[in-house]
Each structure stands twice: as structure tokens, then as C-alpha cells.
């Protein structure tokens, strides 16, 4: 075993590194949530032409601290009919996989918690564990609203996992490895994977919006729908864990996956000289996507549950499968040449953006004519 960094004895460095990794992750999750809640409110405010939080602290920066203290001091109201053990277990089942995702995220060269061989597979596995927590939360509350909300939310989450994984597999086809560090290193210079696989990126972006329960897929959180779905009976910090910590943590994880797979992760000018600069580039790219998420939230209306399921199973999954097959065929037919794949992918993006709305418009027109004819 080589001498650890800073000349520390490796026997001490190994557990110290673990402790630092855990502390850093929890710090990141907690402060990330605080920062993102503030950003969300400010950005929504700016887009909606109002001010947003500005009383507490300069520019309202301390607003989320105040909110966190408020949540901690709220009474943990628990209905008598709730199933105690499962009710208490659910936030932990949803929170733990999200924290464990941070083990494989590559922030900078040699700055990974543990570079697992199956890094990408590990991340999807953790994503699927969170669904269980939501089903349990909805059921344990013994509340009709919670149960329906929980089942709907779980249905949405499991449906959108499929196009999410299909998009990831497309990248693995091109890169040839599941390790996150390998995927980052395979994107040399400015030729990032986004230029080659934009449709996979778009598919993953949409699926990630659905997986993290963000608008336009935030039916489970909508105030006007089913009260608050599976969160109805949770109050105070339990609710805070579910909504603030887990959701924003999951948004961070998902945006990190997007930067690693499609935009080169930590790479950027100057990283070869100063590896720590990788953290800066990584964080910047992640926050670009986080801001994109918030922008989408402030702009788009909410989709109905049947619209969102239709979109997943009838549009995203077939197109993602076509993408995988086309990429595979082209990779074998033209080994080493990535241009045909890029062309096919951009064509699919164009199809999604232009052809699909045109198709829907034509269907709507024929439907309207048919109803008019049958009514006449």
C-alpha cells in the first residue's frame, strides 16, 4: 500500500477517508437541499415577475435556514390509525438509497467514494429501491388519499424507470463500461457524449423529471390533487426528509449522472494541471442542469396521470428501444465511426420535437371531425 496523501500512514488514512466521504456527502445533501430550495423559490419568483424571499438575511439567503428550524420545531402529528413501524420506516427507505448514490459519483479525478465496476447499474438499483419506500408510506398512513397517491406515484416511478435505464444502456453501448470514472474518461476534450447521443440525453432528462417527481410530472405533490398524496399524514421533519432532503438530493444525483454520462463530468480546461479544479467544473455542470429543472418547473403545466403513462409506454419506450437498436447496428456496421449514430440520434430528437406534436395535432383534428360528423 503506497503512502497515503499528505504522508499520513495508510492505516489511519483508510477509515479517515471513509469518514470524510460520509461527512462530505451528508454535508452536500443537507446544504444542497437548503441551497436548492432557496434557488427554486428565487428562480420561480424571477420567472413569475415577483421578488421571492427577501426578508430573512441579505437577498433572503437565510430563508431556508429559518424554514428548516421551523420544520424541526413542528409537532410530529401522527394519526392513530397509521401503521407505526412502516410509517416510521418509510422516510429511511427513501432517504438511504439517495445518500448511498453519492458513493460512485466522480467529482474529480481520484475523487470518487468508491469506483465500483458496476457503477451505473448500482445507481439504477438504488433508484428502484426508493419506490418501495413510497408504496409503504402511502399504505402505512391508512388514509385513502395517501394510498391512491402512493400507488399512483409508485406507478409513475416504475414506469419511467424503463426509459431511464434504456437511455443509460445506449451510452454504455458507445462507452463499453459501467464504471462512472471510465465513462467520464472516455469523453476526451470537447467531444462529449451529448453530441453523439442527444436523444438518449433528452429521454433521460424527461425520465429523470418523472423519477424525481418534478413538474411536469409532480402529480404526487400537487396541492390541488389528492391533498398531498402519500405525504398527507406526514408532518414536521418527517415531511421535510421526504420532500426537501430526498427530492433535492435525488435531483442532485440525477443531474450528476447527466453530467457524467453526456457532458464529460469533471472535464474542463485546466483539469490535467490541477485535478481539484474538476470539482468546480463538475459542480458547475450539475447546477446548470438543476437550474434547467427549476426552469422547467416554472414554465410547464402539470400532466395528468394517464397522459404521463401514455407518454412513457407509447412514446418514450418505443423510441428508446429504436435508439438502442439503431445505435447497436450502426456501431457494428461502422466500427470506430460515431457519425452515423449522431445523425440517427439527432433525427430522433427532431422526431420527438417536431413530428410528434404534428402527429398529435392530426389525430386531434380527425377525432374532432369524427365527433362533429357523428353529432350532426
Amino acid at each position: 500500500m503506497p503512502i497515503g496523501p499528505f504522508g499520513i500512514d495508510p492505516g489511519i488514512w483508510a477509515p479517515l477517508r471513509l469518514l470524510l466521504a460520509v461527512a462530505l456527502t451528508l454535508f452536500l445533501v443537507l446544504n444542497g437541499a437548503l441551497l436548492m430550495i432557496y434557488l427554486e423559490r428565487k428562480i420561480q419568483a424571477i420567472i413569475q415577475d415577483r421578488t421571492g424571499p427577501h426578508h430573512v438575511g441579505p437577498f433572503g439567503l437565510l430563508q431556508t435556514f429559518a424554514d428548516a428550524i421551523k420544520l424541526l420545531s413542528k409537532e410530529d402529528v401522527r394519526a392513530k390509525a397509521t401503521d407505526k413501524a412502516f410509517f416510521l420506516m418509510a422516510p429511511m427507505i427513501v432517504f438511504s438509497p439517495m445518500v448511498a448514490s453519492f458513493v460512485v459519483l466522480p467529482f474529480a479525478p481520484d475523487f470518487v467514494g468508491a469506483d465500483l465496476n458496476i457503477g451505473l447499474l448500482y445507481l439504477t438499483t438504488l433508484g428502484s429501491m426508493a419506490v418501495l419506500g413510497i408504496v409503504i408510506a402511502g399504505w402505512a398512513s391508512n388514509n385513502k388519499y395517501s394510498l391512491i397517491g402512493g400507488l399512483r406515484s409508485a406507478g409513475q416511478l416504475i414506469s419511467y424507470e424503463v426509459p431511464q435505464i434504456l437511455s443509460l444502456v445506449t451510452v454504455v453501448l458507445v462507452v463499453g463500461s459501467l464504471s462512472m470514472v471510465d465513462i467520464t474518461r472516455s469523453q476526451a476534450g470537447p467531444f462529449v457524449n451529448f453530441l453523439v447521443l442527444p436523444f438518449a440525453f433528452v429521454g433521460y432528462f424527461i425520465a429523470a423529471l418523472a423519477e424525481t417527481n418534478r413538474t411536469p410530472f409532480d402529480l404526487p405533490e400537487a396541492e390541488s390533487e389528492l391533498v398531498a398524496g402519500y405525504l398527507t399524514e406526514y408532518s414536521g421533519m418527517r415531511w421535510g426528509t421526504f420532500l426537501a432532503l430526498t427530492e433535492y438530493g435525488e435531483v442532485t444525483v440525477v443531474c450528476s449522472i447527466m453530467t457524467t454520462l453526456w457532458f464529460g463530468g469533471w472535464q474542463g480546461p485546466g483539469v490535467d494541471a490541477l485535478p481539484a479544479l474538476g470539482i468546480v467544473w463538475f459542480t458547475l455542470k450539475v447546477y446548470v442542469f438543476v437550474l434547467a429543472f427549476m426552469w422547467v418547473r416554472a414554465t410547464l403545466p402539470r400532466m395528468r396521470i394517464d397522459q404521463l403513462m401514455d407518454f412513457c409506454w407509447k412514446v418514450l419506450i418505443p423510441m428508446a428501444l429504436v435508439n438502442i437498436l439503431a445505435t447497436a447496428v450502426l456501431l457494428l456496421a461502422f466500427p470506430g465511426n460515431l457519425w452515423p449514430i449522431a445523425i440517427v440520434n439527432w433525427a430522433l430528437v427532431a422526431a420527438l420535437v417536431f413530428a410528434l406534436p404534428a402527429l398529435q395535432k392530426r389525430r386531434l383534428r380527425t377525432f374532432r371531425e369524427r365527433t362533429r360528423l357523428s353529432a350532426a
Binding site: 466521504a21 394519526a79 469506483d115 395517501s146 424503463v162 444502456v169 463499453g176 447497436a328
Partner: protein, 121 residues
């Protein structure tokens, strides 16, 4: 090659740390927050109305269809992962195998679509 045992110990440690963190956080909330249990507060929430009946009466079965569709496609995806990693080694033979596999499952998806099993209600 990074050390296998150490990597998975990290995974385990992160899970344990998350559980401890949540317990501490909720413990802190328990210390700070008031606890006054009243009959009203212990009632299940139903938008101000009195809750009627048990939460689990008969429910539509379409949830189950989507869950099963998800199981089928999840297994498909599981086969896709090793195929994608070893893609170039497996060559055209592997591609044909995978195409047959996906085609059979797409037939299932098409069947579900035509039988209106994909409609939410």
C-alpha cells in the same frame, strides 16, 4: 482495479450513515418540537370531513398491469446491461440474439397496447 471489499464497505457505511443521520435529525425534532396529542389531531385526514370506512376497499386493477409490465421490462433491461458492456466482443451474433429478445417483448407491449391495457382506466 479498485479494491472490491473496500468499495462495498463504503456502500454499506453510507447506508448506515444515512440511517443514523435520519435518526439523529428526527431525534432532534423530537427534542425541540411540542407533543400535545389530542383526539382531533389523531384522526385521519380527509379534507375536513369525517373519514368513512377502511382505507382498503376494492381498487382498480390497472396498477397491477403496469407493475407487471415493469417487471417484464426490468428483466429485459437486466439482460441489456451485460450485452451493452460486452457489445463489441459479441459482435453480430450477440446483436441478433438481443434483437430477437427485444422483439419478443415488444410484441408483448404491442399486445398490451391493442388490448387497451395501457390505458390508465
Amino acid at each position: 482495479m479498485p479494491d472490491y471489499n473496500l468499495s462495498y464497505f463504503y456502500v454499506f457505511a453510507f447506508f448506515v450513515a444515512a440511517a443514523i443521520f435520519i435518526t439523529l435529525l428526527l431525534g432532534l425534532a423530537r427534542l425541540i418540537a411540542p407533543r400535545k396529542v389530542t383526539v382531533e389531531k389523531a384522526r385521519t385526514y380527509e379534507s375536513g370531513e369525517e373519514p368513512v370506512g377502511q382505507a382498503w376497499s376494492r381498487y382498480p386493477t390497472h396498477f397491477y398491469v403496469f407493475a407487471l409490465l415493469f417487471v417484464v421490462f426490468d428483466v429485459e433491461v437486466i439482460f441489456l446491461f451485460p450485452w451493452a458492456v460486452l457489445f463489441r466482443t459479441l459482435g453480430w451474433y450477440g446483436l441478433v440474439e438481443m434483437v430477437i429478445f427485444i422483439a419478443i417483448l415488444v410484441v408483448g407491449l404491442y399486445y398490451a397496447w391493442r388490448k387497451k391495457a395501457l390505458n390508465w382506466y
